[in-house]
Symmetry: none
Subunit: 195 residues, 4 copies
DNA sequence: TATGAATGAGTTTTCATTCAT
DNA sequence: CATGAATGAAAACTCATTCAT
């Protein structure tokens, strides 16, 4: 519903651009308003406050992000392939969107505790997707049966996230996509029942 | 040399406490000074500015942190045991220091880009320790010989860091130390030449 | 253009009053804002910073000051009369504006080098007016033909300025206007070709 | 008596140097102490407070300054020659002492009202010297008999002071001494009974 | 809906001065 | 006499948010 209003999206897109270009702490409401070609006050017609803008940026962008990953995964047959697909889609989407990568990996992490909690809430579905892959892998006997799901999920997410963050901090000087097979192999090694 | 001055350490300890209790953005210099039982101005006799206090907190604490890990590792014979020791010491030190865990996992990450770069510089030796374990494991034929060292290091650090962060965000409601064997097993699974 | 905004002038007038009453160094932005009946932040909508407020005070006030002198002079026929007019108008305007006299003679001189340079720039047109009177007097053979113009200008300005400053420091206890003829006579004596 | 203490003079000289090199507002007590090679606290054994240091700088330096002028004048026979001598000595002493010129013409004027009053008190004897020359000139019938002494004194001092200030602000790019004859001629023109 | 002028709370840092040694 | 570590008050400026139009 929110999304039908063109100004709403205008502001979201402007926020991503402004944060990516100026950094989290230099992204004043007035700067976002200017980039969105609306008045400062207009922002408060669509968002409760500045924090709401930032959370919404994350919600909108991560929503699409997760949806695409979920869809890609649904077309794969087994947990191994699904994990591959997840890594690939995760990397690809951030590889393809320069601004988004900076904003999610570096800038939005400078937010305060409240915002962080809300960001975690948005991430929940992604973590659930990871959990389901783990479960499926165990059911399919591809993964060891005694895996501690939350722990494994934290390993998978922590690994992927750290690799992307490193790539962003190195100013994306190397090719992220080419690392997919190795990352997948490492994680499969950790989970595989054949170990 | 710095450390011999008692006020210097008084301020560092106060900063950790204040940041842990109030959060990064609510940790005014005056609050730190009060907690250290010194005048506001005294802080500027020992530190260039507020950022210098924060960087120094990280330097001092992570310096000790890494030293202890390095020492523990040096007494182990092979890469597998060293990795176990690293995970254990990493978890134990943060497990034992409530404030430090909050500060390193949550609060200091809210810092700006400049501060982040300096924090990364402090972390460098830790990453080097991880690298050396990986190399040693490959030499000892315990780990696969074709490991991509930076990638593996990112997996190890990302995994450990994510697990600690989760534990801190869950308000340390569960026992972190009990997870050491499983984390070690997962990582060894990823690296082992026996896979 | 700036001047059309009522708040701009409100702030300028408040600044003159506050500086005259409290002295240069005790004229905080918050005090000026309060006197202008605006919020502190409003000052920064109209001025770049505090120094800009002070420079603008001088620009606005000296602009008018010099304009009035220039106009009065333009109606006089010869250099002698023009010099008389200049002294008279200079004294009259400061005589009539208690606050302005204190601000220009005492308070704004406490400014730092940067501000002083800008004040000098504003004064430039006034010095040019003096120069033109000297030149005209030489052309009209009323003044000696070999006058060193910068030097004579410095004598005229130095004399007038010192007399006004003395009057302000003596808390304007005597009548400044009554001194005009004598000051004029002295200066004419210095310049006159009849000497 | 003060002067017999070597540290007292050390501090005075350091203050002149520091003020000339750093400007009035950047001349902290600690900087003066360092330049004088004494501890900060030592300054307070010889001076009541910072203002006292500045006043003392002016007292010491202007005391010598005025003494030399008074002595030079005492050897001259008539008011015209005495005025010449006064101008020449005034210019020469500032011409010869780079730091002193900057400090008296530019930096010490940035002081507040209290300090200004004390500086004026120090200047009093100089103004008395000027007054006595004017009186003598009137008695000797060299000057007009109806001169308004305070006004003439203000003209003489205002002229000399403005010329020196201009020379200092122009970074002493030209020769001040060469202007003595013209300045003298102008002032004599203003005062002379032959006009 | 949309605007943007106005608000005012909030924080780092400096530096003259003191006083225990 | 001399030191210099410690003190703590004081002020410019930013920016999220409001509200009259």
């Amino acid at each position: 519903m929110k999304n039908n209003k063109p100004k709403y999206n205008q502001i979201i897109e402007a926020a991503v651009k402004v944060i990516a270009e100026n950094g989290f702490h230099a992204s004043q409401v007035s700067k976002i308003a200017k980039a969105a070609r609306v008045a400062d006050g207009t922002i408060y017609l669509y968002f409760k406050n500045k924090e709401d803008v930032l959370v919404s940026v994350f919600e909108e962008k991560m929503g699409q992000f997760i949806d695409k990953i979920a869809e890609a995964i649904s077309q794969k047959q087994n947990a191994e392939e699904k994990l591959y697909s997840l890594i690939e889609m995760h990397f690809r989407q951030l590889s393809d969107d320069y601004y988004l990568a900076i904003v999610t990996q570096l800038e939005l992490r400078q937010s305060n505790y409240t915002l962080r909690l809300q960001i975690n809430k948005v991430l929940k579905p992604y973590l659930t997707v990871i959990d389901s892959i783990i479960k499926e892998g165990m059911e399919q006997k591809l993964f060891r049966s005694n895996l501690n799901i939350p722990l494994v999920r934290q390993m998978i997410f922590g690994t992927i996230d750290e690799i992307v963050t490193n790539w962003v901090m190195k100013e994306q000087k190397y090719d992220l996509m080419s690392q997919v097979p190795e990352v997948h192999a490492l994680l499969i090694g950790a989970l595989s029942s054949k170990g």
